[in-house]
């Protein structure tokens, strides 16, 4: 069968990424030809600044060498500029007359630097800053000349100026606006940036208008100086124009393809000619032309998906952020950082320490941020902005960063650049900075997801995500940009958790196959990530109706014990509110002896853990213990931790142990999106640590205070005050109602803290506190779900425990 002919015009990052994605999806569908105007294979244009600054070489920034094109049977023409598209005959023509036929055409022509139309713009020594050629010319000029002028005080201009200064030139930056990087920074941050660049030796002419570029008197034809409108003359043997870029649409326009400040494409990256796709800086999508790598890669992925005839991807636009790649200058900006009507600003300014942070809020949402000096929280703010997170509850602490909210696992480090190569970044998977840098360089990684896949860093608890993003940034020159969307549940579907929950409810779906059919799952029976989630959504939405599917449960919930690293299990029997007695302890001791259990450990939840039990022994261990399942293995109620309370304690004001027992007896056997832990303290000394629990209860003389959505895990989150109640019956009702709301609305593996952050504390209060009828209904629904639920350790048939799993199916000798 003859292959379909795909021709790509342009050999830059976005286009080649599209080819890479395409080859991954369908290696044999296309016969691919690429035309590049430059003599080089695909390189990382973002890293030209470090090359100019002498921190990297051209070889370092090559992304796909010539061998790659050969290995993938891609015909590459370098130094060949396509000048004509004949859409009728489906051919492209290069300036040297080469003609090439296509079935599909991919335009990735990038952008052109905008040259100011001033007299003298065509003199020798006047350059743009766009490609390897420009960079080499600048390096050459820096070696022979002394003075340079950079026109344009934006991102690119400053990077160029910094690079030239590092190569020993005296550099003046001419900026038309009142401050530097006016599109990314407010005036305060900009002035701080200016001061630090001045300390590096750069000079600035602000509010300056270039009038003419003048010829050198001793070296005719070559630039000698720049004259401003106010008459000032600045001597310069090199002038770099960095006033902006424009999408390169010349070729597309000449072929009659609709352009409007970019080649206009739809959400599937098709131009008005459906055989012709376009990606990258040359594109205008929903009126926006992007110039940062992450959105362009998103576009590439969508284009590849459609070229591969899969037809499922859509590009829906991106939110972008900026970081300046000048070593020693930390600067971050995203969103609407200037504020405006009905916006509020929170500002921290410490000029002495060189730190400035501003976050802009609108209602309960973060809509913009600009930071100078300390940008460690940039990725966090950007995530809050992108996800539209409700930040009402943490507003007072927002300014102090994510670290302030409690974070562990990387020694409190928050500046990746200062970490040594041996320093551990990901404490879960033991990945050091050097390993991440190496993987990024060798495997050409650009996104957080790619780094996670290849190195495992940040793929477990995620607390080092900010660090990994920083490393990605200065190693690959990536940026924080991302497509704002509710993430799909997993690779089996494009639907997100909320959409799936809604569909299950609306369409009364009660089995996993029914959900998969209705929502058009791409895989026959899901994966290890979506099946447990679906199973939970079904049984929590349709209690007593949907039937639990043990094969869609993680092993711990399938075997009702916790798997350990050596394949043995641990068993934790329930001790109501942490109270036990001689008879239980005696039985535990006998079980430990009888089954030669190697380790007995007291848990943080006031129970006893028996570790190292063979799977074959589990059923008889449960029977001999004759205690209820502790559900220490479940996404569900674990334990209710208590202090001894008023029964014994001389400070106790309430009977916390009894309250704990009542709560635990009400809630045990409750499955939830994630584990649920409660605590009850008998007085504000709070010995049961109620402040870091999903529901924390603290007894005071006049009743009980309820705190919710705390978490003692990866990120320590202090529970927020919810309500003050008088009686223990009320405590039961309010706690149950909150947990039922979480059970019905939480996404699988979302802890209460994240659920409340997502929906907002006000919402939870509205549903549970202010609406008594709804509260009672929630309470009733929880009791209904739990009524008659079996103890899986002692009612195995009713609990659908497949007891065959505990013994081998055959023993061979």
């Amino acid at each position: 069968m003859q292959k379909v002919r795909l021709v790509m015009v342009g050999n830059g990052m976005a286009g080649v990424r599209a080819l890479e994605e395409l080859i991954k999806l369908t290696p044999d569908l296309y016969d691919i030809t690429v035309f590049g105007a430059e003599p080089h294979p695909n390189y990382n244009r973002i890293l030209l600044s470090p090359v100019l600054a002498g921190e990297q070489t051209i070889n370092d920034i090559i992304l796909n060498d010539f061998q790659w094109y050969e290995d993938n049977q891609i015909r590459l023409y370098t130094n060949k500029k396509i000048t004509k598209i004949d859409r009728k005959n489906r051919t492209v023509e290069a300036s040297d007359g080469t003609i090439c036929e296509y079935d599909r055409l991919l335009l990735a022509t990038g952008s052109n630097p905008f040259m100011l139309p001033v007299p003298g713009g065509n003199l020798d020594g006047v350059l743009s800053y766009r490609d390897i050629h420009d960079t080499e010319k600048m390096i050459e000029a820096a070696a022979t000349h002394k003075q340079a002028v950079v026109i344009g005080g934006g991102l690119l201009g400053l990077e160029a100026a910094n690079g030239l200064a590092l190569r020993g030139m005296e550099v003046t930056v001419i900026q038309f606006a009142g401050w530097l990087m006016e599109r990314q920074l407010d005036e305060t941050a900009s002035k701080m940036l200016q001061a630090s660049l001045e300390a590096k030796g750069l000079k600035f002419a602000l509010k300056a208008n270039t009038e003419a570029i003048l010829e050198d008197v001793v070296n005719p034809g070559h630039v000698g100086s720049v004259r401003l409108k106010d008459g000032t003359v600045i001597p310069a043997q090199l002038v770099v124009m960095a006033v902006g870029i424009r999408p390169n649409t010349e070729l597309a326009e000449s072929a009659g393809i609709h352009c409007n400040r970019g080649i206009v494409v739809n959400d599937t990256m098709q131009t008005y000619d459906p055989r012709i796709y376009a990606v990258g800086e040359c594109v205008s999508h929903r009126g926006i032309a992007y110039g940062l790598v992450a959105p362009l890669f998103d576009q590439a992925k969508v284009a590849a998906n459609h070229l591969a005839q899969m037809g499922i991807g859509r590009y829906e636009g991106s939110v972008t952020s900026t970081k300046l790649k000048v070593t020693g200058v930390d600067l971050f900006s995203a969103g609407n950082f200037m504020g405006g009507d009905d916006c509020e600003e929170i500002v921290l300014s410490d000029p002495g320490a060189g730190i400035y942070k501003k976050i802009v809020l609108k209602g309960d949402k973060l809509i913009g941020s600009v930071m100078y000096g300390d940008t460690a929280d940039g990725s966090w703010y950007f995530k809050l902005l992108r996800d539209g997170t409700n930040i009402g509850a943490m507003r007072d602490r927002l300014m102090f960063g994510e670290n302030n909210l409690g974070d562990t696992g990387h020694q409190g480090q928050n500046k990746a650049a200062t970490m040594s190569m041996e320093a551990e970044v990901c404490g879960c998977n033991g990945v050091c900075k050097g390993a991440i840098v190496k993987a990024i360089k060798e495997k050409g990684l650009f996104t957080l997801d790619e780094v996670r896949k290849h190195t495992k860093a940040s793929s477990s608890c995620g607390s080092c995500t900010g660090l990994v993003e920083q490393i990605l940034m200065f190693t690959a020159g990536g940026d924080y940009s991302a497509t704002p969307k509710l993430k799909a549940m997993c690779g089996c579907t494009d639907h997100n958790h909320q959409a799936v929950r809604d569909a299950i409810k609306t369409h009364h779906l009660i089995t996993i196959p029914a959900v998969m059919e209705m929502l058009e799952w791409r895989t026959p029976n899901g994966c290890a990530s979506c099946r447990p989630a679906l199973n939970y959504y079904l049984i929590s939405t349709w209690a007593k109706e949907a039937v639990d599917d043990p094969q869609s449960r993680y092993i711990n919930e399938r075997s009702h014990a916790n798997i350990q690293k050596d394949g043995t299990y641990s068993v934790i029997p329930r001790m109501w509110a942490g109270e036990t007695n001689a008879s239980e302890l005696r039985r535990i001791a006998d079980v430990v002896d009888k089954y030669a259990i190697p380790t007995v450990k007291v848990t943080g939840g006031q129970r006893i853990d028996l570790l190292g039990i063979k799977k074959e022994d589990l059923v008889s261990v449960w029977k001999d213990l004759d205690m209820p399942s502790g559900h220490a293995y479940a996404k569900g109620l674990r334990t209710v931790k208590t202090c001894v309370g008023s029964e014994w304690c001389r400070f106790g004001t309430q009977d916390s142990t009894q309250m704990g027992k009542d709560l635990e007896r009400m809630l045990w056997r409750m499955y939830a999106p994630h584990k649920v832990k409660l605590a009850v303290s008998g007085c504000p000394r709070n010995c049961a640590e109620s402040g870091i629990k999903d529901v924390g209860v603290i007894g005071v003389d006049s009743g009980w205070e309820i705190y919710i959505a705390g978490n003692g895990g990866i990120k320590t989150e202090v529970a927020a005050f919810f309500v003050k109640l008088k009686t223990s019956d009320e405590v039961l009702e309010y706690a149950a109602a909150f947990l039922q709301l979480y059970r019905e609305e939480g996404w699988y593996l979302e802890r209460t803290v994240h659920y409340v952050q997502r929906v907002g504390m006000e919402y939870v209060k509205e549903k549970v506190l202010n609406d008594a009828i709804n509260r009672k209904a929630l309470y009733e629904r929880l009791l209904f779900s739990l009524d008659g639920e079996p103890d899986p350790w002692h009612e195995q048939i009713k609990a659908q425990v497949d007891t065959r799993q505990f013994i081998p199916v055959a023993v061979l000798t």
Binding site: T523, N525, C527, I555, I563, D802, P808
Partner: protein, 137 residues
């Protein structure tokens, strides 16, 4: 240079293990042996059976305890995806679990437990990941 001579495929000695119905759909059962580790027998959604050594190539997790989906199993310890057909981890993870010959005779599951299947792809990966080759003569 590493020089390898690979044993010819041994003669299969198939043994009856169980009825297909004794393995849950999208599930697995274990077979214990006197010599060598346990073998996991998997039953997929389309009622095919596969057999692998019950040890994940990553950290030795018991694959029989994982969630079965498509023709893969997710290791219960660190969620590596292992292909049931070739025993190999999904990229970019590297490593393979030994495969055993298993077949359905009507509704009966038969297994050869004498020696793992040697395959070119499994072998190259094994060498690449610096694990001791499974059979060297």
């Amino acid at each position: 240079m590493l020089q390898l001579k690979i044993k010819q495929q041994h003669k299969l000695k198939m043994k009856f293990i169980c009825q297909l119905s004794e393995i849950p759909q999208l599930g697995a059962r274990r077979v214990t042996r006197n010599n060598g580790g346990e073998i996991a027998i998997f039953r997929t959604g389309d009622d095919q059976v596969f057999a692998l050594l019950d040890r994940c190539p990553h950290k030795g997790g018991p694959l029989s305890q994982g969630i079965v989906f498509g023709h893969k199993v997710a290791c219960p310890l660190h969620n590596w995806s292992i292909g049931l057909n070739d025993g190999c981890a999904t990229e970019p993870d590297v490593g393979c679990a030994e495969r055993y010959a298993v077949e359905l005779r009507g509704v009966e599951v038969w297994l050869d437990t004498a020696a793992p299947i040697l395959s070119q792809s499994a072998l190259t990966t094994t060498i690449a990941s610096n694990v001791i080759p499974i059979a060297v003569v």
